[in-house]
């Protein structure tokens, strides 16, 4: 049976991981590759690198990150953070990214989804959606949650599925950073409408939050800070989920003889 996935998200700025500099007893350089390898060895199922560089060098740093990651990491990974043009998306995939994650900014250019899906298959396209509760109900936001689109989440998720998105990465702005659980209500609303996998993001703080998400239709759960700051150990989380009836990939001493 197909395993439910746990995904770690790494924010990368100018080639360095932004969060996660507080590892104890470990020399840590902020190298995304180093952290990625560590997560893979601990049993993470997938990695998402979000490039938040805001300079004209961004394109270059993104490509460099992808190359370095592809060279050293042997699990699937996605790159995102400001992919506006199809040629950049293509280049990132050619250089070794398994998937690209398109920002909520793709709202202004939805045909980008179709262009990438046609060329590489829908599994290569994650559409990230940020939403929060407004007078509209669940409303889609862009620009890191600052700009309202006037669009209902329900309409947008159905549209992106139709356009060829392979997965939806759903972030609740109301929950993001709270560590008091994923937005289960929002997850349920979207689950009813689309058939493609949903990666739920924003709000993970405890192991039971992951369990709630999987019990309510998430295919994958994404977290950043709880893994960076080692609030939750990946292997322990997976054992807990497994014990509670979620089908997960448990990597225990697997291939230790190779290391």
């Amino acid at each position: 049976m197909l395993a439910k996935r746990i995904i770690a998200c790494l924010d990368v700025k100018d080639g360095k991981v932004v969060k996660g500099t507080k590892f104890e007893n470990l020399k840590y350089s902020g190298d995304p590759v180093e952290l990625g390898i560590r997560y893979s060895d601990e049993g993470i199922d997938e990695l998402v690198f979000l490039d938040i560089t805001a300079s004209i060098e961004k394109r270059k740093t993104m490509i460099k990150t992808v190359e370095k990651v592809a060279e050293n990491i042997t699990i699937p990974f996605a790159i995102g953070g400001g992919i506006w043009q199809s040629d950049l998306a293509f280049e990132l995939i050619y250089r070794g990214a398994d998937k690209v994650s398109l920002n909520s900014g793709v709202v202004d250019n939805p045909k980008l989804i179709t262009e990438i899906a046609k060329k590489f298959g829908s599994q290569a396209v994650i559409v990230a959606i940020d939403a929060k509760r407004t007078a509209l109900g669940f409303e889609v936001f862009t620009h890191s949650g600052k700009k309202a689109t006037g669009m209902k989440l329900e309409d947008w998720v159905m549209k992106v599925e139709k356009l060829g998105a392979g997965e939806i990465m759903l972030t609740s702005i109301d929950k993001d950073g709270t560590r008091d659980g994923y937005d289960i209500e929002m997850l349920k609303a979207v689950r009813k409408l689309v058939n493609i996998p949903i990666i739920i993001s924003g709000g993970a703080g405890k192991k039971k939050h992951f369990l709630e998400a999987f019990n309510n239709g998430a295919d994958a759960t994404l977290a950043a800070s709880v893994f960076h700051y080692r609030k939750i150990e990946i292997l322990e989380l997976k054992r807990y989920l497994h014990k509670n009836g979620v089908f997960v990939r448990i990597v225990e001493n697997e291939g230790d003889d190779l290391l």
Binding site: M1, L2, A3, E71, E254, L258
Partner: protein, 209 residues
Amino acid sequence: MKLLNIGIISAIPGNIMNLRRGIEKASEFSNISASVELIDRVPKKSFDLIFLPGVGHFGEGMARLRKSNFDEFLRHYVENGGLLIGVCLGMQLLFEGSEEAPRVLGLSLLHGEVCKLKAKRLPHMGWNTVDFYDKVFGEFSGKYFYFVHSYRVKCGDGMISGFTEYSGEKFPSVVREGNIVGFQFHPEKSHLIGLKLLGRLFEWSLYQL
């Protein structure tokens, strides 16, 4: 110690660089020395082991192989005892045809057809287990490997080396017959266990030569 001469066919789109890196790492780990070359046209030199990776459309993949005469080359290569490993679409191309491209003849190196998975949610993407019925890979039974595909092979039980189940459908995820092996998943994306599996494959290969 014998050196394995490995070629990776790069004439069709695929996970070529990742596969190359995976093979190199696996050879490092397993202490089997290997030289790895990408081959985008029919090679003049000989190889011990050729990988046929591939992602995308069956029809497109076959068209490209045919255009560069790889179909004939691979037939002779296999007839002369060369070891051939298909990965993902590369595994499917080893068979006679696919529902994905109804009038296109496959490489026909193995008997069987390719058809679409029945699941509502496609592609079958993520980590899934393989149950091996083959002593060559027996130690990997129950381990997780990384899959991305919407089509599956239908073939005789005799060549099925491992099964996987998705959405209630059981399909062959590894086949092995004579000097041909096919993996539906991506060993090069399956973390350490994938590299270990490649190492096992190299051991098996040395044994065949």
